[in-house]
Amino acid sequence: MADADDTIEILGLTYPRRDFLIYGSVGLGAAGVALVAWPFIDSMNPAADQRALATKKVDISAIEEGQAITVMWQGKPVFIRHRTASDIEEAENTPLSQLKDPQTDAERVKPGHEQWLIVVGICTHLGCIPLGQKPGDPKGDFNGWFCPCHGSHYDTSARARKGPAPRNLAVPPYEFLDDQTIQIG
């Protein structure tokens, strides 16, 4: 039987044989457990059919000025509002000093398409859907959206102005495929 005091030489360095065996076995075992754990952890990530919902094309030609529609993207509501000239003016003229999450209106729309505001319709406070999409909805103190859950107000650029919401409504990645069609995602 090998003596516990035997040594082994690796790359010119000498180690006790017992230590080498223990650390080697435990290290290999840990690597094996990690390799096995990954498929289990990864299985909980969105599956291929969920990932296939990552982009969505929307025809916006039928939305009149002043109107808004809500579309689903990745299971979330996306607000598409066709803003009026006064909406845009109001949004552009708001001084950044009045904002909790300072962002200019230009940062939130595409150049040349300032009339289109596209945001994820999930309140940044605790995830409710703010009101303001339908003609009869309350639009809050800033003519944008109002979240009925805890009273957050958003302006015509969907920026948080009042109430507990800490951040502006998120702008999803999107692009104009042509003047009538956008692709979200």
Partner: protein, 407 residues
């Protein structure tokens, strides 16, 4: 046997915790210093390997349940979605599917080990009974799990097996409708099978701990079948068995991986990749391989109730093993005639398994009858007669004696 003295824990946090909940002392007693017979061989590794199979089944099952939908309209597609869309879903499902076969292979070998080495004899009767109960629950769990993908074999397997209850005179029909929750195998059946398929493994896991509790009370048997007579006969669990078990588990996992990665449908039926159709019975209904011997016995007699009772008896007879094999010699190694009978019995079980997969026609029916008679004769005729007439070989004085005297 020496009594256990708990160690003094030097680390103050360990010591603080252990005084309030002696979990660390418990692990020290049962996983480190626990005395095991020094002569146990690899047949004694199938218990721990079965435990590993149970863990594989529980883990993969929990993750599969996150995607499986117990709705007759969606179940089949949800399983296909797991196979195609869910990240590593194919791996989870193939581990679970083949894991069931692995679990039964290991448990069957574990039980044959027990039958050969007399592991059911005093003082291990309760340990054995818990084990047989676990087998019983495994059979029901595996059956219900097979129904869940809602393939055509799932559906018809469920119909055939639940209909066994209709053999009971009088209450049979109401009973089977109670099990179904409908007038045939339908949505309520699938739904409750999913609930039970999730529940039963939890009970199995709990019983596995009771099984180990009983084991650690009476200690492991050994190939010589004689009692531990002192510290010379034992070695501590750690490092001897921790290392040996890990080595054996690695071998088992390599064997298992071959099927999971290279032949994942080796144990599967093609008919179960066809969605359930209540209007079309598959031409040849066969259960999973691990049920085949019992399925053969079911078809041994020309009587519905008789077949069901025989099949039940073929499992239940294991409970009375301690009273059928009363030979004071535990190990088959010292019983020259028993050894023959035992291996014929093993061959007969395998033969029944093969017969269970054949069509219900001649010559198979006659062969099934012969094999069934041999099966029951082993328990009720051969074992009692052997107890009476067999002259066992002389037993060694102690476990360590053959080793020490040879040196």
């Amino acid at each position: 046997m020496s009594t256990y003295t708990p160690p003094q824990w030097n680390n103050k946090y360990v010591s603080w915790f252990d005084k309030r909940l002696p979990a660390i002392t418990l692990m020290h007693k049962h996983l480190i210093v626990y005395p095991t017979p020094r002569n146990i061989n690899y047949w004694w590794c199938f218990g721990v390997a079965s435990a590993m199979a149970l863990v594989i089944m529980l883990l993969t099952g929990i993750f599969l349940a996150m995607y499986y939908v117990a709705d007759t309209r969606l179940a089949f597609d949800s399983v296909e979605r797991i196979m195609r869309d869910v990240n590593y879903g194919w791996l989870l499902r193939y581990l679970h599917m083949n894991g069931a076969s692995l679990f039964f292979i290991l448990v069957y070998i574990h039980m044959f080990r027990g039958l050969y080495f007399g592991s059911f004899k005093a003082p291990r009767e309760v340990l054995w009974w818990i084990g047989v109960t676990i087998l019983f629950l495994m059979i029901m769990t595996a059956f219900m799990g097979y129904v869940l993908p809602w393939g055509n074999m799932s559906f018809w397997g469920a119909t055939v097996i639940t209909s066994l209850a209709t053999a009971i005179p009088g209450i049979g029909q109401p009973l089977v409708e109670w099990i179904w929750g409908a007038h045939s195998v339908d949505q309520p059946t699938l739904n409750r099978f999913f609930a039970w398929h999730y529940l039963f493994p939890i009970i199995i896991a709990a019983l596995a701990f009771v099984h180990m509790w009983a084991l650690h009370e009476v200690k492991s048997g050994n190939p010589l079948g004689i009692d531990i007579k002192g510290p010379r006969d034992t070695i501590p669990f750690h490092p001897y068995h921790t290392v040996k078990d890990l080595y054996f588990l690695t071998i088992v996992l390599i064997f298992f991986s071959y099927f999971v990665f290279f032949s994942p449908n080796f144990f599967a039926e093609a008919d179960n990749y066809v969605p359930a159709n209540p209007l079309l019975t598959p031409p040849h209904i066969v259960p999973e391989w691990y049920f085949l011997p019992f399925y053969a016995i079911l078809r041994a007699v020309d009587s519905k109730l008789g077949g069901v009772l025989l099949m039940l008896a073929s499992i239940l007879v294991l409970y009375i093993m301690p009273y059928l094999d009363r030979s004071p010699v535990r190990s088959g190694s010292f019983r020259p005639l028993f050894r023959w009978a035992f291996w014929i019995f093993v061959a007969d079980c395998l033969f029944l398994g093969w017969l269970g997969a054949q069509l219900a026609e001649e010559p198979y029916i006659t062969l099934i009858r012969i094999a069934t008679v041999i099966y029951f004769a082993y328990f009720f005729v051969v074992l009692p007669l052997l107890n009476k007439y067999e002259k066992p070989d002389p037993l060694p004085d102690s476990i360590s004696e053959p080793v020490t005297s040879r040196a």
